[in-house]
């Protein structure tokens, strides 16, 4: 048993399956948020590049959707996604209510505008002459896009980070579409750190809530460090 496990166990001795419980919650949280952020990033970067460098009809509209989306309340997103995935909704046949997939879906809706918006600012600041150089050296449009992403990597890392921060710390939408389910043996099914904190606080188990809160803060700091590290690893020369 590692030191942190021992510390945690010492804190929660009155609750025998607490450690498993907390670990499974963290796992679900990370699975949902990381998947959502990964998919959002794949979705957001092309959009950011498109908006940043191409002229097309509806660009202004798309930009304002992105800007609005950055501040969209998570409970509203949860509600909309619930209607979409509900048995009565357009995605009803997929049976997604109260599943991690539905939670991923709603977090994509939450994180994608943030990642797009911040990435847009980052790629827009890449100088045109660097893009021209990539083209003139024989690069295709895809190569130019890749160079742009590489040049903007710190900004994009920040964008991904901001998206992750929004995803992992939001409580409204995952509660609504996920249902905050844990199985009877104390393993999380759709319970995330945030919804667990809310539940534990409601039940007056503030100690557990505090532990989960601490884990959430540590997690965000940790992922922050990893992303910054990755960013500077790719940019050893910059």
């Amino acid at each position: 048993m590692s030191l942190e496990q021992q510390m945690l166990t010492a804190l929660v001795v009155d609750f025998p399956f607490e450690w498993n419980y907390i670990r499974s919650i963290v796992r679900v949280s990370l699975y949902v948020s990381l998947t959502a952020v990964a998919l959002s990033t794949l979705l957001s970067l092309p959009v950011a590049l498109l908006v940043g460098f191409k002229e097309f009809r509806g660009k202004t509209l798309l930009t304002s959707i992105i800007n609005t989306g950055m501040g969209f309340p998570s409970v509203v997103v949860g509600l909309v996604v619930l209607f979409a995935v509900s048995n009565q909704g357009p995605l009803g046949s997929f049976d997604l209510v109260f599943t991690t997939e539905a939670m991923i879906l709603s977090q994509i809706v939450l994180a994608a505008p943030v990642i797009t918006g911040v990435s847009l600012a980052a790629v827009s600041s890449v100088e045109q002459n660097v893009r021209d150089a990539a083209y003139a050296m024989g690069g295709t449009n895809l190569d130019v896009a890749l160079v742009t992403i590489k040049e903007a990597r710190y900004g994009i890392a920040t964008a991904v980070l901001a998206g992750f921060g929004r995803a992992i710390s939001e409580v409204g939408s995952v509660l609504i579409v996920g249902g905050n389910i844990a199985s009877s043996d104390g393993t999380s099914v759709t319970r995330t750190i945030t919804t667990a904190i809310q539940l534990e606080a409601r039940q007056g188990r503030f100690e557990t809530a505090m532990i989960l809160g601490a884990i959430l803060v540590v997690l965000v700091l940790l992922v922050n460090a990893i992303v910054v590290r990755l960013g500077s690893g790719g940019g050893r020369y910059g």
Binding site: S93, V97, N180, T187, L199, R202, Q203
Partner: protein, 307 residues
């Protein structure tokens, strides 16, 4: 259902999601038989937060090799979720709403499950002087008279429904109440905390109150029927399966197996013996040697449809 979910995953973006899917573990095992299926139960925060459901569900899951996903919502939300076909079985405590649910065709095979009672709690100085009152309506009237702070759930939960029934009994109109009548706007725990902080009265189910008593300064002032108090404070729980003729996607077989289990000798014994802080929270009600037809039908049903 499982297969459709997988399809969706690959639609959603393939590699990443599938690659990580192993992390969730729980609900994706294959198999043609009943084992591996998931029963979605929507219920109220009061049954969930007391920990009773975990005790009840574990033996059921073991016996059938299934998973019970219990979603704790208010009674109104639990019924709404079931109405949309997003859950298979509902366990709630508001008879009038359950009746409505059945009358509209969404629910079938209702059973009485268990009961406990509500109590009225408040600060020990008791400004409306309701301590020991054996009529809940009279106690409410006194609170309204004194315009002492009262915190309502305000969320269409079973507790809120009960509270409104009692106000109804007093003949007072909730909409006309002044600033002393607060809307807690949340679960039972939050409402208790609000009442605790604002020094107000509130209606609470005995289970949640006993569970949280150590963390708050509120006193039990008006007893419910479990301790020989006001009959009006009776808090009966029912369980209803979602009608498979209305929603063909629901897991009706498993829902009925669950209802069968929970109203069986074994299930009722678990309910009867469940203790939190050495207090009995729920009283089994499903087993009865005498006929109890009322539990299957909306109240007053025989009078309203005599054709």
């Amino acid at each position: 259902m499982t297969i459709q979910r997988r399809e969706f995953l690959s639609v959603l973006g393939g590699g990443v999601a599938v690659g990580l899917a192993g992390c969730t573990g729980a609900d994706d095992s294959d198999g043609p038989e009943i084992s591996g299926e998931t029963l979605t139960l929507t219920t109220t925060t009061s049954t969930y937060d007391t920990g009773l459901l975990d005790e009840l569900n574990a033996p059921f899951e073991d016996r059938y090799g299934v998973t019970v996903d219990a979603v704790a919502q208010g009674t109104g939300a639990a019924l709404r979720t079931a109405r949309d076909g997003d859950s298979d079985v509902v366990m709630v405590h508001a008879r009038s709403l359950e009746d409505e649910f059945m009358e509209e065709g969404y629910g079938v095979n209702r059973r009485d499950l268990m009961f406990n009672d509500f109590v009225i709690v408040g600060e020990s100085d008791d400004p409306a002087d309701v301590e020991g009152e054996d009529d809940a309506a009279a106690a409410f009237e006194a609170i309204a008279e004194a315009e002492a702070t009262f915190v309502s759930r305000g969320d269409e939960s079973g507790t809120h429904t009960k509270e409104l029934e009692i106000w109804d009994e007093t003949g007072l109109t909730v909409e006309e109440f002044g600033e002393w009548y607060l809307d807690g706007g949340g679960g039972m725990g939050e409402t208790l905390n609000t009442a605790n902080l604002d020094g107000g009265y509130t209606l609470v189910d005995r289970g949640t109150f006993l569970d949280m008593r150590d963390e708050i300064d509120l006193e039990l002032l008006v007893e419910g029927p479990v301790e020989g108090g006001s009959e009006m404070l009776m808090n009966p729980y029912g369980i209803v399966a979602v009608n498979p003729a209305v929603h063909d996607n629901v897991n009706y077989d498993l829902a009925m197996a669950y209802i069968g289990y929970i109203t069986s000798l074994e299930g009722q014994e678990i309910i009867e013996e469940y203790r939190s802080n050495d207090e009995q929270l729920f009283f089994a009600e499903a087993l009865s040697e005498d006929p109890n037809f009322r539990q299957y039908l909306p109240e007053g049903w025989e009078r309203s449809s005599d054709d």
